[in-house]
Symmetry: C3
Subunit: 350 residues, 3 copies
């Protein structure tokens, strides 16, 4: 169940280098990403319109891209401008292109109906390149549906069980009931743990002498973008009222992009606003997150294997599923609306 009329992250900016061709399948479509001489990123369907050979095996010639099977040449609009041995270029000789926006180190792509591509709908992720924040670029890959990863992110009760020595720590945090707020295009989750043990990945840097107040406040937005204000600080300093004192604050920024129904590109970053002058701190935080995301990957891939053996398995809902249930309902509704728009029901005339 993949939504098409939505902005997805296609790549980190740094992945698309001048004079290189990046091939990546997104939403079941192979795409080739490349920069033209102006530095702008272009996205073509990675199939020559002639015989389907990948254009990512092709050759960049200035602002044109040549297929290296039979030599057809395409300009940045996707139009074929040269066919060896033939003067007339048929007008249908062109490859599909996709709208692209590059912003805050991420390359966003729109693969649905181009007329609906509204740039103002791209969520704000300015922490990725804001000078007050520091982070490194993360990427991992799943051979599961993006929906299982979304489920995981929508119920942080898993933190102490899946991540006991990294992001988790105190099992009391699992029992703290989050507040779930329904948004039109997603869900806002607010989880507070007051007077609990700090998370190991923070403790390695901050070494708090006692208990902390901890928060995870995030929006999970359609199609599958995760934006979180999280952190912890010594207990009793009014964290909940907004007084951040000796806090370890983060703006976790994550994007899931389906490769296919059963595989997912996962872009992530963990910006922090303390000790920003020390690259070792940034590196240490990033490596803890990488380790934790491997823990998620292990349990989610295991879950996926178990469920694939039992297509009829009925899950039992618990209270902690409120956010994920609502989000799955949003996805399902949006998907049905897209399908209905593609195949309008013929109203029978009376």
């Amino acid at each position: 169940m993949i939504l098409r009329n939505a902005w997805y992250v296609a790549a980190w900016s740094s992945e698309v280098q001048p004079e290189k061709l990046l091939s990546r399948t997104l939403l079941n479509v192979p795409v080739v990403l490349w920069r033209d001489t102006s530095g702008a990123v272009n996205a073509f369907e990675d199939r020559c319109c002639h015989r389907g050979a990948p254009l990512s095996s092709g050759r960049l010639e200035g602002d044109n891209l040549r297929c290296m099977y039979h030599g057809l040449l395409f300009d940045t609009s996707g139009r074929c401008v040269e066919i060896p041995g033939q003067d007339r270029i048929p007008p249908q000789a062109k490859v599909s292109t996709f709208p692209i926006v590059e912003k805050h180190k991420w390359i966003w792509i729109w693969m649905g109906d181009a007329e609906l591509a509204d740039v103002s709908k791209i969520p704000d992720t300015h922490w990725l390149d804001d000078p007050q924040w520091r982070s490194l670029e993360g990427y991992t890959y799943y051979t599961t549906s993006y929906l299982f990863i979304a489920d995981n992110l929508l119920d942080l009760a898993h933190l102490p069980y899946v991540h006991p020595s990294t992001l988790g720590g105190d099992e009391a945090y699992a029992a703290c009931v989050p507040q779930v707020q329904k948004l039109e295009n997603g869900v806002r989750v607010t989880r507070w743990g007051e007077g609990i043990n700090p998370a190991p990945f923070v403790q390695k840097i901050k070494n708090y002498p006692g208990k902390v107040d901890r928060w995870n406040i995030y929006d999970f937005l359609l199609p599958s973008i995760f934006l979180m204000d999280s952190g912890m600080q010594p207990v009793g300093n009014g964290a909940k009222e907004g007084n951040r004192v000796d806090a370890a604050e983060f703006r976790s920024t994550q994007a899931l992009t389906p490769e296919t129904e059963n595989s997912t590109h996962y872009f992530f970053s963990q910006p922090h606003n303390f000790a920003i002058e020390d690259p070792k701190v940034t590196e240490a935080i990033h490596q803890e997150v990488v380790k934790a995301f491997q823990e998620d990957s292990d349990i989610i891939h295991a879950q996926d294997r178990m469920l694939k053996l039992a297509p009829d398995f009925k899950m039992i809902s618990i209270g902690a599923d409120a956010a994920l249930s609502y989000f799955r309902w949003l996805v399902s509704n949006a998907y049905k609306a897209e399908q209905a728009a593609k195949n309008p029901v013929k109203v029978q005339e009376v």
Copy 2:
């Protein structure tokens, strides 16, 4: 065609260690096996009832098992007894459990209708731990249906061709016509070869100076259990009349448990009652059987590959197929009966 209302071997006893979780798929269902503090073996469906994560990735807490995704805790009855962040436990929050019997080093499991699980139907395999017999524990794995392995065991004419240097030897043994007796729940096969060459795997130990009388007398029982009295002794000592003189006797004990329609767990052992004080003899016999079972595996997997290329292939029956044809008929009948019981035909009222 997998029967569900039957006892299957799930594991060797030694495979289920205290404080460990053994994950194994049986009859298409992932199962986790574990011992509680009393030493009793428990078998749960290896899928948390919440989101399907494997309980085999969980944590044993005394006689309870905790799912390490979102922290649900289950007691030995499979009932959920704790959900982090929630007081009320919904009654449907439980995982499936399966009847288990541990006997003579084997752990038997019943995965069909639990009300039909009759412990008295577990076949006798006491040779596996009888002090008069010695053997080692064998296991191998097939990526074929268990039925092809059953076929193999039901026609020992294959011995000299598949196992010329291990279990086979004299091609004359293939021409000895076995007696086939139909049982209600299986088939009994009796094959005698009188005055033939001894089998190589026995000859390595006994070094018989001349010809032997050889016998293979076995029951192959539903769902797929093989119990054999076999052996050989110098010719002319009245073996057929029951006089066992300088005999090499075995009680081969084998169990096939389908993992899926196309893969099989194969538990086996070759108890012998001579030279039982010498572990080297036991080891030598076991290694010859392991070698021979690899020979079977090679031909059966090759057969499977050939047949998968030709779903419509029609086999030609020969006389030696009597036992396997009858057994396949038994399986097919039992399978149809199970299906009919699951989906009773509605009798139309007149």
Copy 3:
């Protein structure tokens, strides 16, 4: 779309050695090839008629082949002549055999209706063992339909793009429009490039001081046989009129044999008639072709991956597709005719 009533290359002669069994799947059928004591090649379906075990795991006994599962013995006609433990051999106990012709180092097989197997339809490939020509034996394997390889061979505009440093060279050659002549059972393509740069693989041997005239004149015949007169010589010596002066001439001889709908055996050779006394030249030419065929393999497998992601992809035709479009039409017609002959439409009586 695989034609059955056609001669295919099953193997190089050298692959079928006396007293050896060669197993190879052709047109979805596993086949075992072997020489009897007269040296003649026999081809059996590689499945024992009894239980489907591969006869290629069997044992040659003079002019008979024994299945080493249960010991059935077959003569060169495929008839079963011995069943251990049984006197009467049922007449249906036989394996399928296929007509074989061995000629010019190639073993041709006919896997369709044996009554239609007309030996005179085997194309002439005498260059493979003509003393005036030298070549080595090539084989490669594709995990794509043979039709994509046929497409490649039917449009040599790909030479400069796919093979810039081997068979290709001058991009001007892609723009030379070939003459396409429709044959009843294939297509003849004639491509001339006059006054262009020599191909790198030839230049390594001939080191021509200037421009050359280059030609590729070939028949591509049903089911998928490629026979080409190709070469180049210094420009201005009347090559087109048949005057071959200091020419590098080749008779590329290639055969595609479907293993399955999605995999292909590819037999090839590049006979040359110059420097035939120097094995190093023959070896050098062969290695350049091997390298070039790897380039083809890379682009064709990539194309196949792209197309498998989009079953509904519509290709755009260009002028250079004339030969491949006609050949695909021939295959499609022949295939429909075969299907119609297998399933004759019942004419409704009036």
